[in-house]
Amino acid sequence: MSTILPLILKDVAVRRRGKRLLGPVDLTLKSEGLTMIVGPNGSGKTTLLRVMHGVERLSSGSATWAVAEEEARHRQSYVFQTPIMLRRTVADNLRYPLQLIATPRAEVETRIARWAKRIGLEERMGLQATRLSGGEKQKLALARALIRKPDVLFLDEPCANLDGASTRDIESILQTALSEKTRIIMTTHDLGQAKRLARDAIFMLHGVVHETGLATGFFSAPQTAELQAFFRGDIIA
């Protein structure tokens, strides 16, 4: 299977109502592993992730994959910061992405059963997804994103609101996906998690990429004063 990477962002900017939310950003995403995006609230992490996924309108610049747009769109998934539940049962939420691409019925049922087990919701399969707890919704959204076996997975703070055990569950699911060569790009506010998972990292500040690097150097020896301040938990000017 050929990969859809690299993704190349060239001079990307997003402006809304005269305000610049993002950019200019030049960035190339290649290889395997997990890229962690960190930064203060409102620094443009979500906007950047949405730009990469192709669901945010660009004001200028371009985002291009190694393959045609249509194929690339097909082979990536996205988990939103606030999970979006279809007004259907948990099982039907898992079934939905597979239905869209006409998957054989037997295959669909096997995958649903496997994912139900992995996120610990076997007992809740017949429940309306909108009735799940916040944490359960996040797990379901992750399973629904992975059930199509995407090449690239975008996650926007998948573990916000989760307790320690659930966070570990999700991290182990992500580790498994990584070992199966899924490329992951995610955001988090949990620096411990960032260190545990990241292969490389991006520090966003005021809508631009302020610092990038391989995880080893990024976390132990940040170059810019702002990233150092961010790690210390200081307010960044």
Binding site: I84, L86, R87, Y96, L100, Q128
Partner: protein
Amino acid sequence: MNDIYEGLVAAFWLVVTLDSDLMQISLRSLQVSLSALLIASAIALPLGTFLAIRRFRFRRLVISLLNALMGLPPVVVGLIVYILLSRSGPFGVLGLLFTPTAMIIAQVIIITPLIASITHQAMRELWAEYHDLLISLNTSPWQRIKTLIWDGRRNLLTASLAGFGRAIGEVGAIMIVGGNIDNATRVLTTAIALETGKGDFALALALGFVLIALAIGINICIHWLSRTEREGRW
């Protein structure tokens, strides 16, 4: 007061004896309005959903047009359909005037804007909720419409019920295009108008009670169907 009492008694006997005229008229009413409902829903549900999710150039215009059409007086619709179907009109060769088909056509025109408008409102809300997910999953426009219709089906049921209520109670248009012909195009509402005109209040009232019972019955039926389905799923 006496009239109402007599009407009730007459209605009771007409119903328990399964009066053949009454049955025929009621069944025709149901047949005409349910057919109109089916056709109008097939047009209005996708149309309303489409208007909610697609931004195009004349979207606002289409929506205001729809709202304006919703206020069309049925009598005027009847008149226009009459002219179109009359022997000298463009569709005269089809010979549809004074048939149940003509009545169905008129009712479709009357209730389609209503159903489409209610659908549009409900679907706009659902679309705002689903938008990011459906875009992210790379759904085709048709898949989006199907998803919204399926997940919003309870709202759509309400929209359709409103349409049915308007259709079964409508008299102006079907009187004109159907002609209220005995054994052919007479339905509950036109029969009521006729009997009232003749001064037979008892029969008119009896027919009126049957009409009300039908309207309420259909409503209860559909709500009951949707409830059992919900209980089955939850």
